[in-house]
């Protein structure tokens, strides 16, 4: 206990500043700048609504990230369950009083911006489970009660999100949760068994899907089935990326997006626009930037003393990776369209808020990597 007090009290403000992971910080700033430039391009080379809004969100959320970073990681450990239950409450609220748009009810109006609690749940689930596995004795990890408890922590928010309906986000929440289970030490054979069970029950799951979700899967399997309808997005996205070539069509010169052939270019298909204008070189560059960010987060986890920090950093790094993977696979035509944003790049406040909170906690973990949490 003395050790904790000592380490805690010794970190002054300047020490904290010194301990910040500047590589990660610079990468985040770089990513933010790129996202602003791309947003400017989606507005057709003018500073219009999306650029302005994206900029103002960065202006608010980036300092917020730093603010979070300067809190000791132990407070985030303390807040983890509360945060989780808060988001559950928000999900509950949304399912009754939420805003409706294009057939689903996922948003709540906060006057300044519209919040999508399910996006925040992606972070909350990691925080909550990281705390759980930090606290649980390693011998008890594989007990039935433990596993049932953890599974219900994951399942409760997913039920809310699926009923919104929002398949993409619920899959991402589930994956974020399961990765902590994996990291926490749940037996490999359980994962194998569940995967087999999942594959067997897949046809039944599909029969429970909403018609538009089924259509998306069918369209993914054969986009040319209905080239002007459901397959349109995949086809146009592939055309845009493919036509970018090695070095792209040039900034602000992407014809596919400029002439409105690309749907949802601000959000889910932002990478398509980027890839059309900057080509293979630009796309790989962006991937490298993301990879550096992920590797830095993993490194922070590796040097952290507390298992809470480790679990959170690894879990967060994995979920960022999963968001990127799902988003890119979707725009490249490798996965069905599930509607998942690209972290920081995509337009959307909630997603950015969640990612920035995550980055903030990771930075805090770095600053306090020597901190031991009871």
């Amino acid at each position: 206990m003395y050790q904790r007090d000592r380490l805690n009290s010794e970190l002054s403000f300047f020490q904290k500043i010194k301990e910040i992971d500047y590589t990660l910080l610079i990468c985040i700033i770089l990513l933010s700048v790129i996202s602003l430039l791309v947003m400017y391009s989606t507005d057709g080379g003018e500073i219009l609504y999306h650029t302005k809004s994206h900029f103002s969100k960065l202006v608010v959320f980036f300092p917020m990230m730093l603010f979070i970073a300067f809190f000791n990681i132990k407070y985030w450990h303390t807040f983890a369950y509360i945060f989780y239950f808060l988001i559950i409450l928000l999900l509950l609220y949304v399912s009754f009083f939420g805003l409706k748009a294009s057939g689903s009810q996922r948003w709540m109006d906060l006057y300044l911006f519209v919040l999508q609690p399910s996006e925040l749940m992606k972070i909350a689930i990691i925080l909550c489970l990281a705390k759980y596995y930090h606290r649980v004795k390693i011998e008890n990890v594989n007990t039935l009660t433990s596993i049932m408890l953890v599974l219900s922590i994951i399942t409760i928010p997913i039920i809310f999100v699926i009923s919104q309906p929002d398949l993409g986000t619920s899959v991402l929440i589930a994956l974020s949760g399961l990765i902590i289970l994996w990291l926490g030490g749940v037996r490999v054979k359980y994962f194998v068994y569940s995967l087999i069970t999942f594959l067997i029950s897949l046809p039944f799951i599909i029969s429970f899907l909403k018609p538009y979700q089924k259509l998306r899967i069918l369209t993914f399997l054969d986009p040319d089935r209905d080239p002007l309808g459901a397959g349109y997005q995949i086809i146009q996205s592939k055309i845009a990326i493919g036509s970018g070539g090695l070095d792209g069509k040039g900034y602000l010169k992407g014809t596919q997006s400029y002439l409105d052939f690309l749907p949802e270019k601000h959000t889910d298909f932002i990478f398509t626009l980027f890839s059309e204008e900057f080509g293979f070189i630009g796309s790989v560059g962006l991937l490298i930037l993301y990879t550096i960010i992920i590797l830095r987060i993993i490194r922070i986890g590796a040097i952290s003393r507390s298992n809470f920090s480790k679990l959170f950093c690894f879990g967060f790094a994995f979920s960022i990776f999963i968001y990127i993977f799902v988003n890119l696979s979707m725009v490249l035509g490798l996965l069905p369209i599930v509607g998942s944003p690209l972290p920081i790049m995509s337009y959307g406040g909630s997603s950015m808020l969640a990612t920035m909170i995550g980055f903030g906690i990771v930075l805090s973990a770095k600053i306090n990597h020597k901190q031991i949490i009871a």
């Binding site: 596995y133 390693i138 011998e139 990890v141 594989n142 990765i179 994996w182 990291l183 926490g184 030490g185 037996r187 146009q236 592939k238 055309i239 845009a240 990326i241 493919g242 036509s243 970018g244 070539g245 090695l246 014809t255 596919q256 002439l259 409105d260 052939f261 890839s275 080509g279 293979f280 796309s283 790989v284 991937l287 990879t291 992920i294 993993i298 986890g301 590796a302 298992n307 480790k310 679990l311 690894f314 994995f318 990776f321 993977f325 890119l328 696979s329 490249l332 490798l334």
Partner: protein, 634 residues
């Protein structure tokens, strides 16, 4: 594993499992980069093409048709600037308001408005609707004045077919008009080049020469956005005008023909007897082809359709007539060729001949007395020809007639409405009518009545081939790449004779000479049937043969009445025919004239030949000068 080592540290488990995931991540990342590589590097070309296909849209403009000129380079089917009004639906703010404004400005009918609305629903919003195909200058100005109030309407200047000599050439050229669906689908080239507002040949040379005349589309390439809205023009590719086509016809002669036949139904054709060039080909009455360009009105159409003189029928090519006495040169030639008669052979004409109880009349009731071949031709004695036809038999006559082109199409490859006509023989009757040939039928065939049917152009060709000394020629109406001068034509004819002896239409050149002389006397000697129409100046002197074709059997009572032409109902009057060639000394041109229900050939048809020959021979020198195409400034 974990259970076995209870002492294991939790952080080791976390780190080890992180490592496993890290490896999986790298694999996945490589997969994504590989996919990027395959899309952007390997398949770049394919997707670039697709992206261009997305953003670039082509608008084809109607092609400009090639001009058709006469032998002297005068444009007889050209192109004219016209002013049109188009609507581009996607640019219209208020469709109903626009239509209302246009309706009052241009006096559009309610039907037209409904048609536009229908079109609007059918076409894509960026396809233009043609509101008016041919605005007058004042309408065009009016529209331009109110343009600020007509958002979405676009005045357009475009090019349209024009026939400067209006009805003069309708039966030669045909006309162009909007194609119907079937015509678009049938013709590969039309299908490929079709754009709304395009016209295609519907008849005559405009139709048969479609491939050469049509030209290629001009192409506008625009960059468009996902909603099809034009953003900017990328390229304008000029179209190529269709080929120019030069015909053998002479507009002056054509004009005279139409003047001579005005208010009459009939046909005039004039042909070069060596080159086969058709110098004039006019079927009367004609109609104005310009009426069809923008859709003919119902009233005008009814007027043409219901005209009793039948302007829609091309009489030169598809009018079938009994040749009457104009066939006599062929009958006489056949008899000479088959050694049935010689110049000394004489027949006594008493005005009628009895055969198996049937009476065959000569046109001259009192009879011609003893007539030789020359006199029989000159005075067109029917009795003489009954007799030689009887001696000759229809089958031998048929052989000679076929040689001279009767019963065959003359310009069949260019005019799908041309008729073959008919020259009967015994096996034809057996096969088609199923009866045995009767001798009486031979007799009336000998004077060009009965089953025999010829087109005016066939008679012209027949006369031309007698005039040129009995050589087969191939009539043509389009000037080939190297048009032949007279000398060259004669030379090539001799050469052709050596190579293909069957192009010689006679056995003994003397026989042709006899026929030519007989035809000369018919026009230039006293008592000749066309003596009154002769031209004495040797420069213009021509030889011909009249014909009067009965359209119905003359009853005994009618024969006794001997009515004047005006007393006979129009429908029952005889057709007047005349075939001739000239100048006699050195023949160059042949012609055939038919005046439907004109009465006798000598009175109604032969006088026209007199005027025609004057003009044709006066223009002979001019025509020879024009034979070299390159010297003409068109």
């Amino acid at each position: 594993m974990i259970k076995q080592n209870l002492g294991i540290r939790k952080s080791d488990v976390i780190n080890r499992r992180m490592f496993i995931i890290g490896t999986a991540k790298i694999v996945v990342l490589i997969g994504i980069v590989a996919r990027l590589f395959s899309l952007q590097i390997n398949e770049n070309k394919k997707y670039l093409t697709l992206s261009d296909k997305n953003r670039i849209r082509e608008w084809k403009l109607p092609p400009t048709r090639g001009n058709i000129v006469d032998y002297f380079g005068n444009i007889i089917a050209g192109n004219l600037k016209v002013y049109q009004l188009h609507i581009i639906p996607e640019q219209v703010e208020n469709f109903n308001y626009l239509l209302m404004r246009l309706k009052t400005l241009l006096n559009l009918s309610e039907k037209k408005i409904q048609k536009i609305v229908k079109l609007k629903n059918k076409l894509k919003p960026w396809d233009s609707i043609i509101v008016s195909e041919n605005l007058s200058w004042s309408q065009f100005l009016k529209v331009n004045n109110y343009l600020y109030d007509l958002v979405g309407a676009k005045p357009v200047m475009t090019i349209s077919r024009n026939y400067p000599f209006s009805e003069m050439y309708t039966h030669v050229l045909g006309y162009v008009s909007q194609p119907n669906e079937e015509e678009i689908l049938e013709n590969e080239i039309v299908k490929e080049r079709f754009v709304p507002g395009m016209k295609i040949g519907k008849l005559g040379l405009e139709k048969t020469l479609e491939k050469q005349l049509i030209g290629t589309n001009a192409i506008q390439r625009y960059e468009v956005n996902a909603y099809g809205k034009r953003i900017n023009q990328l390229e304008y590719q000029k179209g190529q005008q269709g080929s120019k086509i030069r015909l053998t016809v002479d507009t002056e002669v054509q004009k005279l023909s139409s003047k001579l036949l005005s208010n009459k139904a009939g046909s005039i054709s004039v042909m070069d007897i060596y080159t086969g060039d058709i110098i004039a080909m006019y079927s009367s009455p004609s109609y104005n082809p310009n009426l069809f360009l923008f859709g003919i009105s119902q009233d005008e159409w009814q007027l043409i359709r219901n005209n009793p003189l039948k302007p829609l029928i091309n009489k030169t090519l598809s009018g079938l007539y009994s040749p009457g006495s104009t066939i006599k040169p062929i009958v006489a030639l056949s008899a000479l060729e088959n050694n049935i008669i010689n110049t000394n052979f004489k027949v006594k004409c008493t005005g009628k001949t009895e055969l198996y109880g049937q009476t065959f009349h000569c046109w001259k009731e009192k009879g011609h007395g003893f007539v030789s071949l020359k006199n029989a031709m000159k005075q067109s004695c029917d009795t003489y020809f009954y007799e030689i036809a009887r001696l000759l038999g229809v089958d031998r006559l048929n052989v000679t007639a076929k040689k001279f082109g009767l019963g065959e199409k003359v310009l069949g490859e260019y005019f799908d409405n041309e008729k073959k006509g008919l020259f009967p023989n015994t096996s034809w009757k057996k096969n088609n009518l199923g009866g045995g040939w009767v001798l009486g039928e031979t007799l009336i065939t000998g004077i060009g009545q009965g089953y025999i049917q010829t087109t005016p152009l066939q008679l012209c060709l027949m006369t031309a081939q007698i005039a040129n000394g009995g050589y087969k020629i191939k009539p043509k109406i389009i000037v080939n790449d190297d048009p032949l001068s007279l000398e060259e034509a004669k030379k090539s004819m001799e050469l052709q004779l050596l190579q293909k002896p069957n192009t010689r239409l006679f056995n003994n050149p003397k026989n042709i000479k006899i026929i030519q002389e007989a035809m000369f006397s018919s026009t230039n000697e006293q008592f000749g049937t066309s003596y009154r129409s002769r031209l004495d100046d040797p420069k213009y002197q021509f030889a011909g043969k009249t014909g009067t074709a009965q359209v119905k059997r003359i009853s005994k009572r009618e024969r006794e009445l001997d009515l004047e032409l005006e007393q006979i109902p129009y429908k029952d009057r005889d057709h007047a025919l005349y075939v001739a060639y000239g100048p006699y000394k050195d023949p160059r041109y042949a012609l055939s004239i038919i005046v439907e229900h004109g009465g006798s050939g000598s009175k109604a048809a032969a006088p026209m030949a007199k005027e025609l020959f004057k003009l044709i021979i006066d223009r002979d020198e001019l025509r020879d000068k024009q034979s070299n195409f390159e010297n003409i400034n068109i």
